[in-house]
């Protein structure tokens, strides 16, 4: 088999694995585009942000950051915390992404929850090139997300109904993610720490500047109380469930 045939065979094997993501990313991407449009951003914004950031949770938060006062340090810190879980995926993929040549930088760049889930768990047939398979999974998933966002961004300008309140899509998304996270933990300690720290800081620092103090308190509490918390959280096998 030459390189082209290898690539095509891997695409055929990879595509079926990504079909559930096509629905999920399609729906959420379109919603994200409409949501950005409702906040006054043109279709180019969701398209370019999905292309470069490629992280659903963070992208929704980033819309709010763009609407607030310019604060790059807060943006970086918030982004780092939201994306911290990816450290886990990288650690799990150390072996699988070895010797991938030119594909490796893109595989690492596109290591979102969904691509990780597939590439980590998929039983790739012996006859299929692993590098090409994982490359296609990553590229197909990002394509769904980027195309969905762009379509939503364009559709957002022609929506015939009142979009007031569509920003609740972000709240609903994080609540669902939180429920899924809670299911994996024996005790809801970390959720309570996150909830209590943010409520206290929200009252103390106000809606515009409570994120950084909240994150500092969360890290501090997790560090000090590690003895009690570590047995309740899953620090073994990482598995990206329905996270975005």
């Amino acid at each position: 088999m030459n390189e082209r045939q290898k690539s095509l065979a891997a695409l055929k094997a990879a595509f079926p694995h990504t079909v559930p993501i096509l629905t999920g990313f399609g729906f959420l991407g379109i919603t994200y585009g409409i949501f950005m449009g409702a906040q006054g951003f043109g279709a180019l914004y969701p398209f370019l942000i999905s292309l470069t950031v490629f992280g659903g949770s963070l992208q929704f938060i980033a819309v709010n950051l763009l609407l607030g006062a310019f604060n790059p340090i807060q943006a970086f810190a918030v982004a780092l915390m939201i994306q911290a879980r990816h450290l886990f995926y990288g650690i799990a993929m150390l072996d699988k992404y070895k010797n991938m040549g030119w594909k490796k930088p893109y595989l690492v760049f596109g290591l979102c929850d969904e691509s990780f889930s597939i590439n980590y768990t998929a039983k790739i047939p012996e006859s299929v090139d692993r590098g090409w398979f994982m490359f296609w999974v990553t590229l197909l998933n990002q394509t769904y997300w980027v195309v969905g966002s762009a379509l939503g961004g364009i559709a957002g300008n022609f929506i015939p109904f009142n979009t007031e309140g569509i920003d609740f899509v972000m709240t609903a998304m994080f609540i669902v993610i939180l429920i899924e996270q809670l299911k994996k933990e024996k005790r809801p300690y970390t959720a309570l720490i996150g909830l209590a720290s943010s409520l206290i800081c929200l009252v103390a620092f106000g809606a515009d500047s409570f994120l950084i103090p909240t994150m500092l308190i969360i890290i501090l509490t997790l560090t000090v109380c590690r003895r009690f918390i570590e047995p309740t959280v899953d620090v073994g096998e990482p598995f990206g469930g329905e996270r975005l």
Binding site: A79, I175, T190, S198, I218, V235
Partner: protein, 108 residues
Amino acid sequence: MTLTQQIITILMCVLATVLTRALPFLLFSSKKPTPKFVRYLGGALPTAIFAMLVVYCLKNVNILSGSHGIPELIAICAVVGVHLWRKNTLLSILLGTVIYMLLIQLVF
């Protein structure tokens, strides 16, 4: 925000994302085990952060005035209820958002 400030904000998001995705490949190897504390944080942080993000989404809700956060409360209960019942992420998000939009546009 000016366009330059917007670009810088997005670049910060890109940088942080790439950093969390690439760091393990740059720092650790499959032979050299990952520091325990890093693994612990990787496992313990997400839930705390997602709880924070829920609060962040609701940060402008004022329970003392306006609609007193009632539409938010109803919609949140709907999301939680539907999600525990049907376990379908997209359905929970879609239904919760529609309920919220109807509430603030037609009821409150």
